[in-house]
């Protein structure tokens, strides 16, 4: 297995899958201002996808493009975290997920900006600016909605309870992670945990939300061994044209 390729797919698929989910909000958000903000987030993530998957395709060296990787792989070849593929549900869950992810991405991309691989460092540095803004926005929204009304507090707690068992998967430590650490490309994701915990603690406390007291973590997304049922439906929609009209240029 090419660990660098695997590593790049993880980065690219996270951005692709979350970007896709976020784009589902276009036109139906709670207010025009939020609609526009969500589209900005989605556009950032689609841009990151192009960079990560573009580099992945080069590293693979089989003549595939970023689009080939996005549109012509099936579920078991995707390497995104499970948390990012579950449905949006309400605005609360969407923003809670964004926050849990952003709180990981900021320290993660900060670390990757110092990667021994210049391409990785470059993509990370560009993405970090975007992620930093995403985190500002998502954490403030989580606080506002957690603190707002009884209903909004209940919805945010529900969202957190639902997502929590998926969040642990972000902090992996498998053979690919180890290989990336050995090569100086990236630290193991598990080493982000304490920074993440601090951020989560602060925000949840300001949001009047309680951290679920389970440490159980689903897995199977980042290594592709067992995705949720939701990813297949997402891909059925996302890939429909490329699958229905093979070889067509759009």
């Amino acid at each position: 297995m090419d660990h660098l390729f695997e590593f790049l797919l993880r980065q690219g698929d996270n951005a692709l899958v979350l970007g896709h989910r976020t784009s589902e909000w276009c036109g139906v958000a709670p207010a025009l201002e939020e609609d526009i903000a969500l589209a900005n987030t989605a556009l950032d993530l689609i841009g990151q996808t192009q960079l990560w998957l573009g580099y992945a395709a080069e590293v693979e060296g089989k003549g595939r493009s970023a689009n080939d990787l996005a549109y012509l792989r099936d579920v078991y070849d995707f390497r995104n975290a499970l948390m990012l593929e579950v449905p949006n549900n309400d605005f609360g869950r969407t923003l809670m997920r964004q926050f849990l992810f952003d709180a990981f991405q900021v320290p993660w991309l900060t670390a990757l900006s110092a990667s021994s691989d210049e391409r990785v460092a470059g993509i990370a540095a560009k993405s970090l600016k975007e992620a930093t803004y995403h985190l500002e926005r998502s954490s403030e929204t989580v606080i506002a909605l957690g603190d707002g009304t009884d209903e909004s507090n209940r919805r945010m707690q529900d969202a957190l309870d639902y997502l929590w068992p998926y969040a642990g998967e972000l902090f992996g430590q498998d053979a690919t992670d180890q290989a990336m650490q050995d090569a100086g490309v990236a630290p193991v994701p598990a080493s982000m945990r304490s920074v993440w915990d601090t951020q989560i603690e602060q925000t949840l406390s300001a949001a009047c939300l309680s951290r679920p007291d389970t440490s159980f973590a689903h897995s199977g997304g980042c290594n592709g061994s067992r995705h949720t049922e939701h990813l297949g439906h997402m891909l059925a929609v996302m890939q429909t044209l490329q699958r229905s009209y093979p070889g067509a240029v759009w």
């Binding site: 036109g27 958000a29 709670p30 909004s152 067509a248």
Partner: protein, 325 residues
Amino acid sequence: MYAQMVKSEATKDDPEQLAAFQARVDADEKIEPKDWMPEGYRKTLIRQIGQHAHSEIVGQLPEGNWITRAPTLERKANLLAKVQDEAGHGLYLYCAAETLGVSRDELTEMLLNGQMKYSSIFNYPTLTWADMGAVGWLVDGAAIMNQVPLQRTSYGPYARAMVRVCKEESFHQRQGFHVMMAMANGTADQKRMAQDALNRFWFPALMMFGPSDKDSVHSSQSMAWKIKMNTNDELRQKFVDETVPQAEYLGLTIPDEKLTWNEDTKEYDFTEPNWDEFFDVISGNGPCNVDRINMRQKAWDDGAWVREAMIEHAEKKAARKLAAE
């Protein structure tokens, strides 16, 4: 157009004030929110700007329908940025309407309960990816024709909103045409999709300019007030004359057998759209009217808790800050 069939409100104001107001409009002075204005002008503008704003946000839906199915990452980003712009345009226009003393929430309620309309074009379905091309090319093309002159409209906030809209909108039509080019140069399936999209959107696009001038009873007052800048037929003709060569470039056929170049007038003669269909769509019987409003209603209802919580939190935060001082 995005604001079709806007009825001018009669006005019962002091003749002297009216004359002074008209003189300002005639001198191309901009009317600003706090200036005196005839009640009819205010009401007509609220209706027109409101309808224009509603068209932008209902217009997000037929194109939003394809964001998750866009065939490449590039197309997905282009389309998303475009539909996002429409939300922005709706936002600018609602803000312009708000300067006339109506809130965005009130306008939204009037859209949802059917008191206010939006452009007929958005009640047609988008069935294939080629529709993203046809909508950008034809619908945005028609919209730009109407919006460019509106940058000179007499009401300051509306004119300024239109300047911003036009500046942003310039990429929309090109984006659509770009999609259309790829399809027209593509496989047999893609060409068929492109022609089918043109077939379905041609006449609805012509309807966007509203009924023929001879049947349009509301124009003269609005034109005197400079909140309508051109007649429906003028704009429709201009649109046909510009679009026909573009269709030829694509190798697509405009679905109008009577379409011919008229050497005397130096314009195209063309078949009028079916106005019975237009009035059906306007009165609620278009293919998508019910679904569009249901979707807007659902988004509005689903978002209520968020809007409420955000304001509650802001109030709590302000109170805590005060208590800490």
